[in-house]
Structure formats: structure tokens, C-alpha cells
């Protein structure tokens, strides 16, 4: 065991070997560089494209029916990487902030943040202008979605899908139809109510329930009542969980009696779970859009143009809509969809008529300080 007992002669060379191995320690220092060389991303090149999107937000290839990504690759020859690692606006922003903030580029060429985050990215100067001259189909953008307040020239974004937040409920559990925001605070549903971690949808709906309009918010005081109401409901045990997209799971399985939910999700669910319902509350609902933007420093702008042009073709967009069942931003989709699925084409949650649209409110753009107040207050309540 003790080194001093080993003989000198035999010890020497062996130690040389061990010492030599130890010298490999110096090598260890250059390992990260080595790893960096072999672990690099696969973007780059004129005909490749990387789109990072929300999960379940595109039609997949199923058997012989090609999904949008495969149809696009077949039609254009662009090699496309499509990932679904976009799970949450705040989370994604936190992920890209250190890179874009330091003037570095991120891997994806296209991402689809919700409109308010796109507005923030634009204000921070972290977006590239879209190559609109190479996207002729951009004229198909629904007029109501053109030039939103947070992108007044419309040069930086094209909507991917739009939709609305309202009250989703499981009628097996509630035992009655719901129609008001106030139903979420019904003591009968104690511990069976879900709220979204997406602050604007949760607070927006509660504000509407209190008779406030989220489209005219300018300061925290405008929404303070909604925050108080939410905080009280949480402390009372009314709220079971704050969730992202996973509210659908709790809703279908009956853990939630009711929750704040998104229109397209519930439509998708109804196919297999008819007991799940969605309603735009009588006090009104919020509307939102997830928009395609190109982060600063993205290289494959030609491929980006091809992609956006492709998905703004009404025939392609209709196939996408048939799967995701949100509100399509592309004109002419309703006609195309009618050929595939007439029922969907007649659904007011996918193609809202004027009375429906009139009941929807879109959030005002918050200044940086006000938004910080909102976010801090919200994260104190969710406690996460």
C-alpha cells in the first residue's frame, strides 16, 4: 500500500508512466475546445432552415400524408430542422436573452413568440427585417392582423397562428354549462380550477370579469384588482395549478373542473373528449397571436422567405389549420379548408364572425417598467 515500500528500480519507470498520464491533465484543458469542434450545430448553408416552434403546432407526417415540414422540403429542396423546444414565452426569452443581448446569434432562423414578446424583441433591436420582397404570399395576411401596434410597419413579423383565451371546462365535473369568468371562482369548484402561467391570458380574463379592459392598460393599478382576486383565490385553495399547455391533460382527466384555456386546444380535444367545452365568457375573452420572427443574425434568410411564402399559401395553410385548429392568419384558408373539412370551416372559434370578434380584447403594449411590475406580481402569486 505504502509507496515507500516499492523498490526503487521498479518504481521509477512506472511512475514515469503515471506521471505521463498525469500530464494528460494539461490536455483536459483543451477538451472543451475539442468538444466544441465536434458538437457544433448543423445550420448554415444557403438551403437550410431551422424553425423552433411551440409543440403540437404543426401537422405531422402520418403515413402517406405528408406534414407541412415534409411538403415544404419536397417542394423547395430546403433542408429544414424543425424543433418543438418553445414551451413558454418567458422561458424562451430567458434562454435567448444572454446570447442576443451580447450581440451573438441564436441557432434558429425563425421562432414564433407570442405577439407581446415579439414586440419586446423588436424594441430591444433583436430582430431582423423579414425579406418581404421575396414573400409574395405575404399579401394573404388577414387585414385585421396587419400592422399591429407593436410592429407598426409590419416589417418584422408574420403571424403563425392566432387564437383566443376563454374558459375551458369539463362538463362531467361541473355538471353545468359555464358562461362567465366568475364561474372560475365558484366555491363549488374549490381546488379544481386551473390558471395559465401565461400572465396576459389569466390576468386579462380576470380583468374582463371585473369589467376592466386589458387593451387599455397603462399602469399596474389598472390590473391591481385582478391580481388581488387571483392571489386570494390561490390562498383559498381555489386554484389547483398554474399550467402551460398541459392544462388540457388535467381538463380531460377531470382534475380541473374549469380553467383558462386556448380555443384551438379545446377544439383539438373535443374530437376525442366531447365532454370538454370552451366558451368565450360573456364578459369577453382575450385574443392573441403567435408570430414568426427572425432573430438578429440569422443567416438563412432566403430559406426563411421560402418557408414563409410556403405557409402563406392558402392551400398549405388550410392543411395546417385542419390539424392545429386555431385562427389562421391567412386569407382564403376558410375556402380551402371547406374542401378538406366543412365542419371545421364553419367553426366560429376558427373563423370568428363579427359578433365574436367584438367580444375579444387584445392586450395593450406595456412599457418595460410596467411589464416588470406585472411579471413580478404574477410570479409572487404563482410562487414558482
Amino acid at each position: 500500500m505504502n509507496t515507500s515500500t516499492t523498490s526503487r528500480r521498479s518504481g521509477t519507470t512506472r511512475r514515469q508512466f503515471l506521471a505521463g498520464t498525469g500530464a494528460l491533465g494539461a490536455l483536459g484543458l483543451s477538451l472543451p475546445a475539442l468538444l466544441a469542434a465536434c458538437g457544433g450545430g448543423d445550420s448554415g448553408g444557403a438551403d437550410s432552415l431551422f424553425f423552433e416552434n411551440w409543440p403540437l403546432y404543426i401537422d405531422p407526417t402520418e403515413g402517406a400524408t405528408l406534414g407541412t415540414v415534409d411538403r415544404f422540403m419536397e417542394a423547395t429542396g430546403v433542408k429544414m430542422t424543425y424543433t418543438e423546444a418553445y414551451n413558454d414565452n418567458n422561458e424562451y426569452f430567458a434562454k435567448i436573452q444572454p446570447l442576443l443581448g451580447a450581440g451573438k446569434s441564436i441557432e434558429p432562423d425563425v421562432i414564433a413568440p407570442t405577439f407581446w414578446l415579439a414586440g419586446r424583441l423588436l424594441a430591444l433591436g433583436w430582430l431582423e427585417k423579414l425579406p418581404l420582397d421575396k414573400i409574395p404570399n405575404a399579401v394573404n395576411l388577414e387585414p385585421s392582423m396587419q400592422n399591429p401596434t407593436w410592429d407598426p410597419t409590419g416589417e418584422y413579423s408574420l403571424p403563425w397562428q392566432a387564437g383566443m383565451a376563454g374558459v375551458a371546462y369539463n362538463i362531467d365535473v361541473t355538471g353545468r354549462e359555464l358562461k362567465s369568468v366568475e364561474d372560475l371562482f365558484d366555491p363549488a369548484f374549490k381546488g379544481k380550477i386551473g390558471m395559465l402561467t401565461e400572465m396576459r391570458d389569466t390576468i386579462g380574463l380576470i380583468m374582463l370579469g371585473l369589467g376592466k379592459d386589458p387593451s387599455t392598460v397603462t399602469s399596474f393599478d389598472d390590473a391591481a384588482g385582478a391580481f388581488d382576486k387571483l392571489d386570494k383565490a390561490k390562498s383559498d385553495g381555489q386554484i389547483r395549478a398554474f399550467t402551460g399547455n398541459d392544462y388540457t391533460d388535467d381538463l380531460v382527466s377531470g382534475n380541473f373542473a374549469a380553467c383558462v384555456g386556448w380555443s384551438g386546444d379545446v377544439l383539438q380535444l373535443q374530437k376525442d373528449s366531447p365532454h370538454v367545452r370552451f366558451v368565450i365568457p360573456e364578459e369577453g375573452g382575450t385574443s392573441w397571436a403567435d408570430v414568426m420572427v427572425v432573430p438578429k443574425g440569422a443567416k438563412n434568410t432566403d430559406a426563411v422567405a421560402k418557408w414563409m411564402n410556403f405557409v402563406y399559401d392558402p392551400a398549405q395553410a388550410a392543411q395546417l389549420s385542419a390539424y392545429v385548429q386555431y385562427v389562421s392568419p391567412v386569407k382564403g384558408v376558410q375556402e380551402e379548408l371547406a374542401k378538406i373539412d366543412p365542419d371545421l370551416a364553419a367553426n366560429p372559434l376558427m373563423f370568428p364572425d363579427e359578433t365574436t370578434s367584438a367580444r375579444l380584447r387584445s392586450w395593450a403594449t406595456l412599457t418595460e417598467e410596467v411589464e416588470a411590475e406585472f411579471d413580478a406580481a404574477f410570479s409572487r402569486i404563482t410562487g414558482a
Partner: protein, 358 residues
Amino acid sequence: MNTTLLVPARQRVGRNADRVGLGALIVASTCLVALGAGWVGGAFRPVVVLVLVAVVVGLLVLVAIGGPQARRLLAPYGLLQPGILWLALFFLAPVWSLLRISLSTKPSRFSVDYTFSWAFENYTTAFRDFGKQFEHAFVYAAVATVLTVLIGYPLAYVIAFRGGKYKNILLGLVVIPFFTSYLIRTIAWSTILADRGPTVAILHNVGLVRLFEVLHIMNNGQLLNTPAAVIGGLTYNFLPFMLLPIYVSLEKIDTNLVNAANDLYSSSVRAFRKIVLPLSIPGVFAGTLLTFIPAAGDFVNAQFLGSPNTTMIGNSIQDQFLKQNNYPVASAMAAVLMVSIASLVLIYTRLFGTGDLA
């Protein structure tokens, strides 16, 4: 002439080579921590890099010219060097930069720069806004640790002393569940405990719901999204960290000793208390640390099995760090968690320590 001068020098270096080796290891580690944690800025960085390179090269030179004794004394440091330097750069330096950021402020909300300013208000915020979460973390982890002992010890005991030739298979069986992904296991529990899931149905049929409500295991007729579910998840997920060390310490005990004790004390309960229990305490000790530490920092169980009223400090750190971009406060919370766990470990080791974790 040179050689005659060199020989005594070489012997002197040779005799003290271990000091040189240890010194080099410490200097090189310090250099890496300094580089990684940003102690030095601008023009000094190349200097530190140079020192680092010089140390490594110097060591190699020493090995080459130092003679057999030096080489022998240097060998362990050579072997340690790569691993320890890795830990210096990717464990020590990060902890340092965490502490630094916890005392820094951001110039603006979405800025990526931090100004170190002894900003202790981050710690005030951490305690003020997230005191509940600290409390949950430590209470839930402590209860879960006790439960793992209550479940793990008897199981380890039965396998070790009554397993016979099936001992290894039984032990394998215990470990097998943990070859499935941690997240999948936790998600599976959320389904098992769901309101319309099998567990609640069984409890209804057996009529235990009332009792569980009284015991605060169930709340409002639900099992999922309660403190009990979070604690149950923690218990389940960290059970092997308790069971295996206990098993190892039990297995070392000579069965003859137990038999003799059985004869001696006539009651097997007394024999257990006098012989087996004391000898297995090191296992329980190691298991307690291996269970409590990860449980206190966990956020997965609270996220999938808990409610907004059961969030643990891990959830808060994760949220502040990965969603709110509030690195200073997130770092402050992480630092508090680290320091409090380190102190608990220290106190615990002093009180019951066996000095042997591995």
C-alpha cells in the same frame, strides 16, 4: 561541473516534490477559478493563463529532470490534476460566480451585464418573497427523508438478512424502477394519484377518504396537488439513495454476530437494538444526506404533483432564473439553499458523523 551542482539541487527538489506537486495543483486550480469566475479582467487574464501554462509546463519539466524520487512523489498529483482542475473550473468557479451575481445588480431589466455592488437586497428579496418556499423545501425534504428510512430500512433489512441466495436478485429488483426516467416516473405518479385515477377510487371503496382528510393527506377529496403528493413523490424518487447505503452497511454485518446476539439477548428485538442497529447507523447517516440534499433542491415533484400552495425553493429558483431573468435574486436563493444545506450537513456530521460518505 554542471552536474555536480545539479545533483544536490535535484535531490532537494526531489525530496520536496510533493510540496511542489500540491502547490502546483492549488495554484493551477486557483488560476482556473480566477479565470472562470472573472476575478481578473482585461489585461490580467493573459497573465493568469500564462501562470497556468507555466505551472503545468514546470511540472512536466520537474518530472523530466527531477529524478525517480521526485517522479514518485509527483505521480499522485499528476493523476489528480485533470479531474481536480475540471472541478475547479466547472464547480468551484461557478459557485464563486453564483455568489458574485447574488450580490450584483442589473443596470436594466433585459441587460446581460451585472454590476457587483454588494447588493444584499437580493437576499432580503429572497427571504421576503420566498420564505414560504424555503420552508416547504426543508419541511417536505425532512418528512420525505424520515419516510424513506421507514420504508427503506425494513426492506434493506429483509433483503440483507432474509434474502438468502435471492439477495442479489432482490437488490436488483429494488434498483430496477430507477432505470426509468425520473420525469416519467413522476408523471406516472400524477396519473396514479389523479382525482379519477385508481388510488382515489380504491380509497373511496375502502372508505378511507374521511380518515385521509382528517390526517390532511387528502384535501377536498383530492390526493394529487397536495403536500402529501409532493412528499410522496420525493419519498419515492429518492428511496434508493436511502435504501442502498443502509443495505451496504447491513450486509457488512456478520450474521454469526446476529445469531450470537440472538442467543445472548434471547429477544431478537433487543439483539437488533444492541447489535444490528448501531452497526447500520453509518448507512442511515449516508442515506439521510443522499436523500435530504437532492430532495430539498428538487422542483420536479412539486411541479408535477403539487399546487401553487406547495411550491418549493427549487421551483422559485428555476422560475426566477429561467423565466424571470432575475439572476441576482435566483442566485441569492441558490446561495442560501447551498449554505443552509452545507451548515445542516456540517452540524449533522458533527452530531452523528461517521466521516465516511462514500
